[in-house]
């Protein structure tokens, strides 16, 4: 993949493998939390990242920011490979790359005031021209918090307000790229909408690029320009948001989307849902070949041995499945027609 001016972040075969166990009596095992992700994130877009719990979405986000050390591959930002930057150079880059966390109760230091929390990065990078407090209060207003709260502690706030504090803290360094790791899943539904609107407004005002990690497909549809579907450490489908919901190609994506309830009892009662068998296999011993073959209704023998590569099936719509290609994009039809493994173009 060539470096493209439209791309802000460019991941090439990024890997995060952990070794666990390994002693006198047991062999060390490798957990492949992120196993070779190649992905571009374009300037100014919101890339939604969806998948089941434990598929490696959060780890991927943290690996880009080096909160978890990647064990292989490259992550380009501004022509620099973040995965291999020395620690001091990486600290300098952190000004541009920020994160919003899932749990607004765990992501704020309970012993610091709001002013100290939001002011910390400003102090670290010496960003305040004028007083730090003035800058902090400006940020608080940007995210919809009253500037009077500057001396309060996190426990005095509700979940939604705390999430706003977390967002203000991320904005304090004027970042260009933000990993939003399930930023709304710990909030009430009504608050979710507020936070999503806030994220959208900030994106427009500050020209931000988001990697929006979520298992809430409706939130992802609402916010994302493109959506990547992850399964057991690999990206299995990538497409513009509209396309992936209208015409999912991968059987896994179809199952994910069919799991979203439709807010209409008549449709809900009659529509057919795809229910996957079993749990996500353990990333310690992922299945050989296509990782989804253990739960896929269309799996054939070749799926057990061939690792499918992400291929452009339709314009801008990528999927990793050996049973579809650009000429035959419908896996169900291919299955009915008895087509086996297909040649990718």
């Amino acid at each position: 993949m060539e470096t493209n001016d439209n791309n802000l972040i460019s991941l090439q075969d990024l890997q995060v493998h952990y070794r666990i166990g390994g002693g006198i009596f047991s062999e060390a095992k490798t957990v492949k939390a992120v196993d070779g992700v190649t992905l571009d994130i374009r300037k100014g877009e919101t890339l939604g990242l969806v998948g089941e719990s434990g598929c490696g979405k959060s780890t991927l986000g943290k690996a880009i920011l080096r909160l978890t050390e990647p064990t292989g591959g490259k992550a380009f930002y501004n022509g620099k490979d973040l995965a291999h930057l020395p620690k001091s150079a990486m600290r300098e880059q952190r000004k541009d790359l920020q994160m919003i966390f899932q749990d607004p109760y765990a992501s704020l230091n309970p012993r610091m005031t709001v002013g100290q929390i939001i002011g910390e990065p400003i102090r670290t990078f010496g960003l305040a021209n004028g007083g730090i407090d003035a800058r902090v209060q400006e940020l608080m207003e940007t995210v919809g918090l009253s500037r009077r709260f500057i001396k309060r502690y996190p426990h005095e706030f509700s979940g939604g307000q705390r999430q706003r504090i977390g967002i203000a803290r991320a904005l304090a360094v004027d970042p260009r790229f933000i990993v939003a790791d399930e930023p709304i899943s710990a909030l009430d539904v009504s608050i979710q909408a507020q936070i999503m609107n806030l994220l959208e407004r900030l994106q427009a005002e500050k020209d931000l690029t988001y990697l929006f990690i979520s298992h809430d497909l409706r939130a992802v549809r609402h916010l994302s320009d493109r959506v990547a579907v992850m399964y057991l450490g690999k990206i299995v489908e990538l497409a513009p948001g509209k396309d992936i919901y209208a015409e999912p190609l991968m059987p896994y994506t179809k199952a994910l989307i069919s799991a979203v309830p439709v807010p209409d009892p008549e449709i809900e009662a009659t529509r057919e849902r795809i229910i996957l068998k079993g749990d996500v296999p353990s990333p310690i011993n992922p299945p050989a070949g296509c990782r989804f073959h253990t739960r896929c209704a269309y799996a054939i023998d070749a799926c057990r041995t061939t690792v499918p590569q992400l291929a452009e099936i339709k314009p801008q719509h990528f999927a990793a499945c050996i049973r579809i290609n650009a000429d035959n994009p419908n896996i169900h039809a291919n299955h009915e027609a008895g087509l086996g493994a297909l040649q990718q173009k």
């Binding site: 909160l67 600290r91 966390f101 992501s107 704020l108 012993r111 670290t124 360094v173």
Partner: protein
């Protein structure tokens, strides 16, 4: 807070007041002997009677609180600081640092019987030589001048093993707290390792050490008394509770008051700090609250 905590806190407050205002409370000079009046029973003049040399037991018990608290506060403070630093380093850096510290150093120290090591150290260490070796003769005399006789040696002997308990608890706490999101956030915001450790991890880790410290106070009061009883602590004629019991040992069958009052002082003080420790633990860890 439960009732025992308040009882403990009240007793501890009395002991602390006694130690602070000892010159005002004591009725007699603690070193003046009155050989004509040995083993006097408690009376209006001598509330707790007199000992084998005719000294006033009440005044000696009051001044003994000073010795006890001096030793236990300084031992606990010093052990806690050392333990917190070493434990934080082990927990924060992990990897081979942790494997060496917690897997090897901590376990070696924990395997020693604590009081036995303290006795050995108190018996054989020449604290002046040790200090002179580290910071030179002049510095050694200056530092020892700050402590009353025997106190520094006791500190050394009791801290040698005392820090491990704090280090172990702190390591566990740091291991837990460093995985919290706000620590990750601080890292994402470019905070240095030192800043993450000192402003984010430590303040959120030390709570259980408060319990550890109040239980440590109780243990140290007892250790100080034990060492003094064996003649390895604060040298006479300074009134340590342990020394008083040792001096009363040969006569207590006939004159029980010489042993009873310092003994009771030790028992009550230890009990008080244990109550405080248990009360704090219950208060800080709501999961353990039974009522």
């Amino acid at each position: 807070m439960n009732r025992l905590f308040y009882i403990g806190a009240s007793i501890a407050a009395v002991v602390i007041l006694m130690a602070t205002f000892a010159p005002l409370i004591a009725t007699h000079d603690v070193t003046v002997q009155d050989l004509a009046n040995r083993f006097a029973s408690p009376s209006a003049d001598h509330w707790f009677g007199t000992d084998s040399l005719g000294r006033d037991v009440f005044s000696r018990v009051v001044y003994g609180a000073r010795v006890s608290l001096q030793v236990s506060i300084s031992v606990v403070a010093f052990s806690a600081v050392v333990g917190i630093l070493i434990g934080s380093v082990a927990g924060f850096y992990g990897g081979w640092v942790d494997r060496f510290l917690s897997g090897y150093v901590f376990n070696v120290f924990l395997a020693f019987p604590g009081l036995l090591l303290a006795i050995a150290l108190a018996a054989f260490i020449d604290e002046r030589k040790v200090l002179a070796y580290v910071i030179g003769e002049g510095g050694a005399d200056a530092i020892l001048g700050l402590f009353s006789p025997g106190l520094f040696k006791m500190l050394l002997a009791l801290c040698a093993i005392g820090w491990v308990g704090y280090a172990r608890v702190m390591r566990g706490q740091v291991l837990k707290v460093r995985e919290y999101d706000f620590v990750q956030a601080a890292k994402a915001l470019g905070a240095s390792n030192m800043r993450i450790l000192f402003t984010h991890i430590m303040p959120n880790s030390i709570q259980p050490l408060i319990v550890q410290a109040s239980l440590g106070m109780a243990g140290t009061v007892l250790s100080e008394a034990s060492l003094s009883f064996l003649g390895l602590g604060i040298p006479p004629p300074a009134p340590s509770w342990g020394t008083m019991i040792e001096e009363a040992r040969n006569y207590f069958a006939n004159y029980p008051h010489t042993l009873f009052f310092p003994g009771a002082a030790i028992a009550l003080t230890v009990l008080a700090f244990n109550f405080i420790g248990d009360g704090l633990r219950e208060y800080l860890d709501p999961k353990q609250r039974t009522r």
